[in-house]
């Protein structure tokens, strides 16, 4: 019997080790698996390389993971956004490494990683500082730069519906990087708004087939990053005693 459901976000992230590479889905807050990220903060694995388009906002979710000193290196395309407080400070003081990648190259590197392609050539970034030191080749009269496929030990993603095989659907533009990250990671951990019975998802409408998924945890009412930022929430709560409710909410939400 195949049943990829696990007991909690904590058990889902339990095998993440110091030094691992972790892909985290989401574009800004859309698709950000905030409960899984908070579980990773509680878990405490350090020296991680994290792949995400951004660096989080406020002091929750990905930003909190960075603030908690668990991330040695970020691979992303746009590390500064309106509410990004944590990353810029650490970057300027040399405490975190950044590999800046054009957004489409980032997506293609992840897709290539998931499809067993170690490297590919693209026109993107030719003649710019982001092509420095990379192999260039000319095809049919145009210059291309070589980029490497990206793989990860773990991917943390958020989906709308899942069945116990791990077939997934997503909500609108929250899909973003999740399907390709699911393909590129050895272990894909999914927080899903709703678990459904086998057969409920029309095979025509499955976006990520279950073969790319390893663990499922139902989080029926996920927290919204922008709301937490607006409310001045800091994670973990020990950083700010005034926000003691947050951890309790999390524990409740993460039960299967």
């Amino acid at each position: 019997m195949i049943d990829k459901r696990v007991a909690s976000c904590a058990s889902a992230v339990a095998d993440i080790k110091d030094g691992d590479t972790v892909m985290i889905g989401g574009f800004g807050e859309a698709g950000s698996p905030i409960e899984l990220i908070h579980a990773l903060i509680d878990h405490g694995a350090k020296n991680l390389t994290v792949i995400n388009n951004n660096t989080g906002s406020g002091r929750v979710g990905l930003a909190a993971l960075i603030e908690n000193g668990q991330v040695a290196k970020m691979i992303c395309s746009y590390p500064r956004t309106a509410n990004s407080l944590v990353f810029p400070e650490l970057y300027r003081s040399g405490k975190i490494e950044l590999e800046l990648v054009p957004q489409g190259t980032l997506a293609e590197r992840i897709r290539a990683g998931g499809a067993g392609i170690p490297a590919f050539f693209t026109k993107t970034s030719v003649g710019t500082p982001l092509a420095d030191g990379k192999e260039c080749r000319r095809f049919e009269g145009d210059d291309y730069v070589m980029e490497r496929g990206l793989k990860a030990d773990f991917a943390l993603i958020k989906a709308k519906q899942a069945d116990r095989y791990g077939n997934l659907t997503f909500n609108k533009t929250a899909r973003n990087f999740a399907p390709i990250m699911a393909m590129a990671a050895k272990n894909t951990l999914v927080q899903v708004n709703e678990m459904v019975e086998l057969g409920v998802l029309d095979p025509e409408n499955v976006i990520t087939p279950g073969i790319f998924v390893n663990a499922l945890i139902e989080v029926t009412h996920p927290q919204q990053e922008s709301q937490l930022v607006k409310d001045g929430i800091v994670y973990p709560q020990t950083n700010n005693p005034a926000t003691s409710s947050i951890k309790e909410v999390n524990v409740g939400e993460t039960q299967a």
Binding site: A30, P102, T124, G127, T128, T173
Partner: protein
């Protein structure tokens, strides 16, 4: 008048040429019916408001939506439905969602017809710099700009003709780090419309009350005056259409 004094007078004088809305409006005239279009953040976003009636244009946003609509009402608001600037949007009837791999295949695979972007600098060869000033303490961030200029068929730039201090942004070579080489097709500034061609930069249109010399003084490279050509062409078209009418 010394150059410095002249620059100061430009700064303090009232709005001349096109304002931000008018620049977007002018650019929108060139978005053809049936186009798939990606609009950058800022003034380029405004282009969608001004595409002439009767043209059906599909907007792509690189975070994973083809068929982006207007801002949502309070009832329509969904934090999972945003554009590349992370603002809430809607999806039109006939829209589709897709992951980042597919979204950038649309861009990098040459499927998007037009992309409108802002600029820090544009060179006479059509090189674009719009992501970094190269400042040492800046947090570098590139997003999808390099993918868009490398992969979209036509790149339009909307920009103020000079910086706030009156320094030319259209230059022989960009001094800021490049976003892409030889990628810009047309520049819509507050003063004029300029085409990037093999022959050089051709000024094809002036904002009301602006002269060719006025634009040239504020441009770092010699412009080709395409206005005369354009007028000739326009006259020819009028003659042709008259001919047709007579037959």
């Amino acid at each position: 008048m010394s150059q410095v004094a002249e620059r100061q007078s430009i700064e303090t004088s009232k709005q001349i040429g096109w304002n931000r809305e008018q620049m977007a409006q002018r650019c929108a005239q060139d978005i053809e019916d049936g186009s798939y279009v990606n609009l950058g953040i800022g003034i380029p976003e405004k282009v969608a408001q001004y595409v002439p009636d009767g043209r059906e244009v599909i907007y792509h946003t690189e975070n994973g939506l083809l068929g982006m609509g207007d801002s949502p009402s309070d009832e329509e608001l969904d934090a999972d439905l945003i554009n590349a600037g992370k603002k809430a949007v809607t999806a039109i009837p006939g829209a589709s969602y897709f992951h980042h791999g597919d979204s950038f295949a649309m861009i990098r695979g040459n499927h998007i017809d037009v992309c409108v972007l802002g600029a820090m600098q544009v060179s006479m060869k059509g090189d674009l710099a719009n992501w970094s000033t190269g400042a040492v303490d800046a947090i570098p961030a590139v997003g999808g700009a390099m993918d868009l200029v490398a992969g979209v068929k036509t790149i339009y730039i909307i920009t103020q003709h000079t910086t706030k201090n009156g320094v030319a942004k259209i230059l022989p070579e960009c001094t800021f780090p490049l976003t892409g080489q030889k990628v810009v097709n047309r520049i819509y500034s507050d003063l004029s419309v300029i085409d990037v061609t093999e022959k050089g930069l051709i000024l094809i249109e002036l904002a009301p009350g602006i002269s060719f010399d006025y634009v040239q003084e504020r441009t770092g490279v010699a412009l080709i005056n395409g206005l005369a050509q354009k007028n000739e062409l326009a006259n020819k078209n009028i003659v042709n259409s008259t001919d047709k009418a007579q037959h």
